[in-house]
Amino acid sequence: MKKIINDPSTVVDEALRGMALAHPDLLVVQPDPAVIWRADAPVEGKVALVSGGGSGHEPMHGGFVGTGMLDAACPGAVFTSPTPDQVQAAVEKVNGGAGVLLIVKNYTGDVLNFETAAELVAMDGVDVRTVVIDDDVAVKDSLYTAGRRGVAGTLLLEKIVGAAAERGADLDRCEALARKVVANVRSLGLALTACTVPHVGQPSFELADDEYELGIGIHGEPGRQRLPMEPADALVRRLIEPVVEDLPFAEGDRVLLFTNSMGGTPLVELYLAHGIAEKLLAERGIVVERRLVGPYVTSLEMQGMSVTLLKLDDELTELWDAPVRTAALRWGM
């Protein structure tokens, strides 16, 4: 393992310290329990949005803390969900009196810890709601599984509901909007390489040079299927087709297409893949109305990508376009 770190056990602490120094105008960072919150929190009378998850997915979630998006993020250890204390501390920092919405990715640990935190926070009299996102079409949802994972679609949810909260939408409205995004967003990812979690010290799975993993999550866990390596046209088709068929997205649908790098795939390949994704959608008569391309929901240095489609209507499009000012996502202000 070769990484720019001192000690695997202090990676998250040291990264948070640097992040606070890099964005003093946007963020405040507390090391223990670890919480990142927007510099002007709590915003009186505004619904507060709190999310979190394992570290290693940067810029998610801390990079999305700021005006028009999250009020606070709780970074856990690398690829490990945050603890209930972190969530509770975040809620105390950002609760502006209008209630708190917890945005949780559907992973067993995240759900358990946020659930515990929600119980504790509710006992303190805070109006708290939880929305679980499960956009990953690689996982079959049934009574006998933990259900679909929450992956890159989380960013779209945080942006859209964040815009609504910034404009003064109440907690019921924010919760309903979040559920609407969950119902209309789907993702699928692939990996060309594994990544190395600092405290593990070796790659999270072995993958030959001529193979790739289809249907990965965002924690370096292997995918559903291992396939022989293919050219980009075929790779992107493997991602787009199951996503389109899942909702399903139909001819004439207006969508937001989010082409995401898992961290190790450079923009030249990502733009190439994005072009293919647009072409495949155009062939199906699906109208790409908004785009986001970049490394936003990552798995350390893993090479690979994911595509996310969100079915848009006027309301979602307008909220997506609304001003946002965070470390990683910024427009309109």
Binding site: S9, P33, G54, G76, A77, V78, F79, T80, S81, P82, T83, P84, D85, Y107, T108, G109, L112, N113, E115, T116, A138, V139, K140, Y144, T145, A146, R149, V197, H199, V200, Q202, S204, F205, G217, H219, G220, E221, P222, R224
Partner: protein, 206 residues
């Protein structure tokens, strides 16, 4: 039989030693079907437990177990933190007189807590595959000594953990692998059996 907070605390310290000794093994098991953090998370959690015990003056078995529960929930994260923490918390509320029957009852309460939180059952390839047979075995011999009850539990947990190898995971992160999760020992079942075995060893030593 009398049992002081100090006895329970030294049993918990023994657990911490076992977790540290098996850290790499648990990381490897988790790397195969999860993301490899199980050993590190448990080690970090039990280190925090030991330092919490060092810096507090809890004196009853219940108080010690509550401190352990609270520390695991607030330091471990992932699924293991809330699940193991809940197990200790529930065990704490049912441990009054320490004899074979009360140990079996504490294990039963721990299992009920884990099932309530994680909603897993035997066959899902989780810690429940080790814990439920352990509780059944403990209850079957609950009229015997504490040491015998714990030994029965640990032996059953070990067999239960082994039984996860052919299973396809239906809960937790391994479930995302589907059929590919078969053929691997579940790290949560393994750590559960290790923790129970360490209790046998510390009961024998006390």
């Amino acid at each position: 039989m009398g049992c002081s907070g100090t006895d329970v605390a030294s049993a918990v310290r023994a657990m911490a030693t076992v977790v540290a000794a098996h850290r790499d093994e648990l990381v490897e098991l988790d790397r195969a079907i999860g993301d490899g953090d199980h050993g590190e998370n448990l080690k970090r959690g039990f280190e925090a437990v030991v330092s919490a015990l060092d810096s507090s003056e809890v004196d009853t078995p219940t108080a010690v177990l509550k401190l352990v529960a609270k520390t695991l929930i607030s330091k471990v994260g992932g699924a293991s933190g809330p699940l193991l923490g809940t197990a200790f918390l529930r065990a704490a509320t049912s441990l009054e007189e320490v004899d074979g029957a009360s140990v079996a009852a504490a294990l039963r309460a721990a299992l009920d807590g884990v099932v309530a939180r994680g909603k897993a059952e035997v066959g899902d390839k989780t810690m429940v595959d080790a814990l439920r047979p352990a509780v059944d075995a403990a209850e079957a011999v609950k009229d015997k000594s504490v040491a015998e009850v714990l030994a029965a539990a640990a032996t059953a947990a070990e067999a239960g953990a082994e039984s996860t190898i052919p299973l396809v995971a239906r809960k937790g992160r391994a479930s995302y692998l589907g059929e590919r999760s078969a053929g691997h020992l579940d790290p949560g079942a393994r750590s559960t059996s290790l923790l129970l075995r360490s209790l046998v060893d510390s009961a024998a030593a006390s």
